[in-house]
């Protein structure tokens, strides 16, 4: 198993070896985000900007007007929060080909706690016009997403996780933008997940199977743009849908699916995610358990949702 950040550094270094438009702007976190791999292997593609994320976004925009396609290297929280105004005006509103690589996203970030846990990024970035929002499931999808994003003409937001997860996809998996993918079949309930949470959601489906509940698991790597028809087709006439995400229950994947399903009706949606409160610093297992995102806790929540009588 490899962490997405390592895949990110390695893949960018590889692309940079043939693509002179690729540059990485780092906010003094290269050894964490693993942009240091680019600095080692392709030093000309690496630009240290220092602890100044707003300036980093502005400079990336400026460089993009001359044909560069810059990647940003820092923790997601310092992009979607600290530099959001710069992303909004200089990147989203201008359609600049800046790649917002949000490292250490979500709840699990090496025990850094609530200051560094970006659990609102989907809600913010999804509402931003012109923005493509992607959360790859594992190391293999991450590699494919990075290659796709490197060629994309507009802004891209990619949520990367700090730590490796059990892969969901085979090594040769090819990411298709906007396309939801069914990674497990089952007719009792449909679980929709995104990012590295999909790996834990698959584990939850296996726990449910032991209890005789067969869950379909849909992985949504792209939150925007989304092939709505493809997602609705995968859900089919399933009445019980559960979203699972390493994000606030407000405005993220659950919000997205709720918006979509509200237009058709007939489906009961349960949104599993982080409650409307801040978390804390602790080891991953503790956080997943306490905040309800471990495979076991997700399985329990799904079971509970199925006990509630349908309307």
């Amino acid at each position: 198993m490899k962490a997405q950040r390592v895949v990110w550094g390695e893949t960018l270094a590889e692309i940079a070896s043939t693509d002179p438009t690729l540059v990485v702007l780092d906010g003094d976190l290269a050894t964490s985000t693993r942009a240091d791999i680019v600095a080692d292997k392709q030093p000309d593609a690496f630009i240290e900007v220092g602890i100044a994320e707003q300036n980093m976004v502005g400079m990336a925009f400026g460089m993009s007007t001359l044909g560069y396609r810059p990647w940003l290297s820092t923790f997601g929280v310092f992009l979607t929060h600290r530099a959001i105004d710069q992303i909004r005006m200089l990147v989203s509103q201008t359609k600049a080909p800046v790649r917002i690589a949000a490292a250490y996203s979500g709840l699990l970030n090496g025990s850094s706690g609530k200051t560094h846990q970006d659990i609102e990024d989907f809600a913010i970035m999804r509402a931003m016009p012109n923005m493509t929002v992607i959360a790859p499931a594992d190391e293999y999808e991450a590699a494919s997403v990075i290659r796709w994003a490197a060629e994309h003409p507009g802004p891209v937001y990619i949520r990367f996780a700090r730590d490796a997860v059990t892969p969901v996809f085979p090594e040769d998996h090819v990411f298709e933008v906007a396309k939801p993918v069914a990674v497990r079949n089952g007719s009792d309930v449909t679980l929709i997940s995104t990012g590295v949470q999909t790996s834990r959601t698959l584990d939850a489906a296996n726990i449910l199977a032991e209890a005789g509940i067969e869950a379909q698991v849909i992985h949504l790597a792209t939150l925007k743009p989304l092939d709505d028809a493809a997602l609705l087709s995968l859900i089919g006439n399933q009445e019980n849908v559960v979203t699972v995400e390493d994000h606030s229950r407000i405005g993220g994947l659950g919000g997205l699916v709720a918006e979509l399903l509200s237009e058709r009706g007939g489906t009961r949606l349960t949104r599993i995610g982080l409650e409307d409160r801040w978390s804390e610093s602790a080891p991953n297992e503790f956080l997943l358990e306490k905040y309800g995102l471990s495979a076991e806790r997700v399985a329990e929540s799904v079971k509970a949702s199925l006990l509630i009588t349908a309307r």
Partner: protein, 299 residues
């Protein structure tokens, strides 16, 4: 009237253009009933000199990759930029009448996707310098010999982001980047007038030794009268000549007056924005254009 022998022909021409730009500013804002007055007027001479004497640009080819870049970081002064762009030939002067209207190319704040000649979208203050630094850095890497100019206001540099770029630009040795500070002495509201203040409210940077600050950060500094053609043109030429030589960026601290050029707007914070009445427009016209016609007849 006596002949204008104390000014060169070049300066008379610039003066004429700046007067027309100022008239466009006050008249367009009055017509559209939206937009700013004080900041565009204080910057009018700096913008006129830049676009008519300094920038290597071609209005018929606004996306020429080798053109000099200009970013109006104080984007709320868009009408000042649009007026000069129109005079310079980027679009017809008549189009100014669409400013701030629906479906117009001339948005309330500059939009690089809509307006020919606008190199960066601005409006949220403090961001233009970093955009310019990115352009200047890209130019260095691509060995392109153009110069990037950025204009900020003295109120605008209260924004913290400005200083992130002020710290980092010398590290990147961006001698192809020049920051023009339109030090017009007023912001929208600010603080009550204090000792030493020039106008009816406190000067945003009145308590700051900007030259010392920028020198401390490793910038080359030039302080000028931002309404004196000779000083403006000399400063522009000096900054431009440092490209590829100096190793550090240049800041031009241009002492100007908010609302400059029209008697009733000069040095008055309430004219940050405002809609001139018919009488005020007549007065502005007589000061800017009628006087120009008189002088023109005299020559």
């Amino acid at each position: 009237m006596t002949a204008v022998d104390h000014r060169s022909h070049d300066h008379v021409e610039l003066d004429t253009l700046a007067r027309r730009a100022r008239w466009h500013i006050v008249n367009t804002v009055a017509t559209s009933k939206a937009g700013h007055i004080g900041g565009p007027l204080s910057a009018a001479d700096l913008l006129t000199a830049l676009y008519f004497r300094q920038l290597r640009i071609d209005p018929t080819n606004p996306s020429n990759p080798d053109r000099d870049r200009f970013i109006l970081s104080k984007g709320h002064c868009a009408i000042g930029l649009y007026s000069v762009l129109a005079l310079r030939g980027y679009f017809p002067e008549e189009e100014l009448a669409t400013f701030d209207h629906g479906d117009s190319r001339l948005q309330g704040h500059p939009d690089m996707l809509l307006t020919p000649g606008v190199d960066a979208s601005t409006g949220s203050l403090g961001q233009g310098l970093s955009a310019g630094a990115g352009m200047a850095l890209a130019a260095k890497r691509l060995e392109k010999d153009f110069h990037t100019w950025v204009m900020v206001g003295d109120g605008e540099i209260e924004e913290g982001m400005i200083w992130e770029t002020v710290i980092s630009a010398p590290r990147f040795r961006l001698d192809n980047l020049t920051l023009i500070i339109d030090l017009n002495g007023l912001q929208q509201y600010g603080w009550p007038r204090g000792e030493g203040d020039r106008f009816d409210r406190s000067e945003p940077m009145g308590h700051v030794d900007l030259e010392a600050v920028f020198r401390g950060f490793g910038w080359q500094t030039l302080s000028i009268d931002g309404h004196d053609w000779e000083e403006i043109l000399t400063a522009y030429a000096t900054a431009n000549e440092r490209r590829g030589v100096a190793g550090t960026p240049t800041v031009i601290i241009a002492n100007t007056a908010k609302g400059h050029g029209i008697s009733f707007t000069r040095g008055t914070y309430k004219w940050h924005n405002g809609i001139a009445t018919t009488e005020e427009l007549e007065l502005a016209h007589s000061e800017l254009i009628a006087e120009l016609l008189l002088e023109g007849n005299d020559r």
